[in-house]
Point group: C2
Chain length 345, copies 2
């Protein structure tokens, strides 16, 4: 049983394909009688336009390509549903790919998407893909970067305000009386990691605390979990004066949690902690870890809006196409209430 086409409808209603197409798309002029008749039979026969034929003719695939670092990751999980919903409102579908934080794979995915004639791209940038993305820009393909960006390149992006997110956390720690705050980060060459680090050092300076290099630990991205846990342990042991520790990503925070738990450190009694980027695990067990949460739905919505604007589907009320969205401080119990040591005590 073949699928029913516009020609079939035309034959059944004794009209031409043109008229059917006009009626179905609300173009041209057609008498009320014919309009009704065509609409009725189309409905009765369950006519669905062949999207492929439409795409070929119109040059629009109505597909958006999303390239993300890792489809298993929590960022993707949080972001995908919102993207899908927004896209659907405007008749777009999404094709997902993962770059595995790997230049070759990322490039391959971009080619694949181009090949499949997607109308626009949402990409979480990997270092090394700058040129490929710029090629899209110069060929006028709509692109939005998400979760990171390429500094110096004029490409629309939307991400969390990393600097001020970290600042909120550090402020919170300092307010609570902590003074020797450690920072654990990772050696990924991504702008957001740099901004997080500078959020840390600048906020300390703002509070007249001199950043101490020994209190910063930079782990290798491709370390195993065990290696990370061990490195964090010896970092903590080496810095006896450290009374709080800030993790720059959630997987670092999780490794840290495990490390502290191995060493039988109590949080927050022995050491306070905050992690950037919330995760189910942080809310799960006593005492509950305070985090800087990314507003993922908002990020997704903003990214899709930016893209739809470029696609001409949506009026923009935005002046800029470079968006930073504030992060949320989620207070749990890994930071102790101020028990400030009074100077005259």
């Amino acid at each position: 049983m073949k699928k029913i086409s516009i020609k079939d409808i035309a034959r059944m209603t004794g009209t031409s394909p043109t008229t059917v197409s006009f009626v179905l798309n609300g173009k041209g002029r057609t008498s009320d009688a014919l309009t009704k008749k065509i609409l009725a039979t189309a409905k009765k026969e369950g006519y669905q336009p062949n999207q492929i034929a439409v795409s070929l003719r119109t040059g629009q695939s109505k597909v958006i390509g999303l390239i993300v670092e890792n489809m298993g990751g929590s960022f993707f999980g949080a972001v995908s549903k919102e993207l899908e919903n927004e896209a659907k409102k405007y008749g777009y579908r999404i094709v997902y790919c993962s770059s595995e934080n790997n230049v070759r794979k990322g490039r391959e995915m971009m080619e694949m998407l181009a090949h499949q004639q997607v109308d626009g791209y949402i990409i979480t940038p990997t270092a090394g893909l700058e040129k490929d993305v710029m090629k899209l820009m110069t060929s006028k393909k709509p692109v939005v970067l998400m979760d990171s960006y390429y500094p110096g390149l004029d490409i629309p992006y939307v991400l969390v305000d990393n600097f001020n997110g970290i600042k909120q956390g550090i402020d919170h720690l300092i307010e609570a009386g902590y003074e020797n705050i450690g920072f654990v980060t990772v050696d990924l060459d991504l702008i957001q990691m740099k901004e997080r680090l500078s959020g840390y050092t600048e906020t300390l300076k703002f509070h007249k605390i001199k950043p101490d290099k020994k209190l910063v630990l930079t782990l290798k991205y491709d370390s195993t979990k065990e290696e990370m846990v061990n490195e964090i342990s010896s970092f903590v042991r080496k810095n006896k004066n450290m009374d709080a520790i800030f993790f720059a990503t959630n997987y670092l925070g999780i490794a840290g949690l495990q490390s502290l738990s191995n060493m039988k450190y109590k949080v927050p009694e022995d050491i306070a902690m905050i992690s950037f980027d919330d995760h189910e695990i942080f809310s799960l067990f006593a005492p509950g870890i305070t985090t800087i949460q990314q507003p993922t739905e908002e990020i997704a919505r903003a990214a899709m809006n930016l893209l739809l604007t470029q696609l001409g589907k949506k009026e923009s009320n935005l002046i800029t196409n470079k968006i930073q969205i504030p992060a949320n401080l989620v207070r749990r119990n890994s930071v102790k209430k101020a028990k400030r040591v009074m100077p005259n005590a």
Copy 2:
């Protein structure tokens, strides 16, 4: 700068589109000289076939639709990469959708995929979608169910061997000397949940233990986490004799973990536990929770093979298209070593 088409290549090489197509697809007869020339210019110009035009002409979209319960879920995360890899080997792409365990949404997604002319479907079944899936079957569309199936309907599927997975866990507990084993499950109307429950009762019977209804707790699927945690707590408190507890899914296990931790129960000293379906959290903290792990990559690979076979892309060496894959018992430390109370002690 328009994309280059087969006509362009024809013009450049002084041949016809037919010849170019033949050369590029290895069909027809073409002299070596022309072949080389065409291949060379195609490469030089970076020719990529317009997949949409190909699809329209051949009737093959080279796209596989995947409908999963929830794109944020861990099952999806684990399975997606493997599916993608396998699909790519045969030139297929994947479009992902989530049904949100919701009949209306699931149906909508299936329509959307049909509309987009996908060549085949991989679906994690939701109750209520039986008819829609059967409609696909009768219209000869390739379909594979994953992670569950519809009992009584002749639709290919691949999932973990739930019954024997549970059996392994119960055996393990009994071997270690536990006798009053509780079971926490959820009221989802899915065959795999029934099989897990019967795995529990049958294995107990096999060991001459009479299943006790009071030791089975069935939670509502749409409960909040808090409600689950509370229900589990009172369940544990009500059954003082219970020395081990088996959770039928990972989110139940996580709730249980939190519940036990709230009540200051020590695992495995106060109570032993096992959860079906592994999760990062279970490996993370002392003591480490023993789980029944689903071999997700294998499941994904098997499902894709089944589908590719139906698509005629792959020779099958399989007799059946209904596959159950053994689960793995991952021993951690939530089950204490046998300290069997000797009858004569």
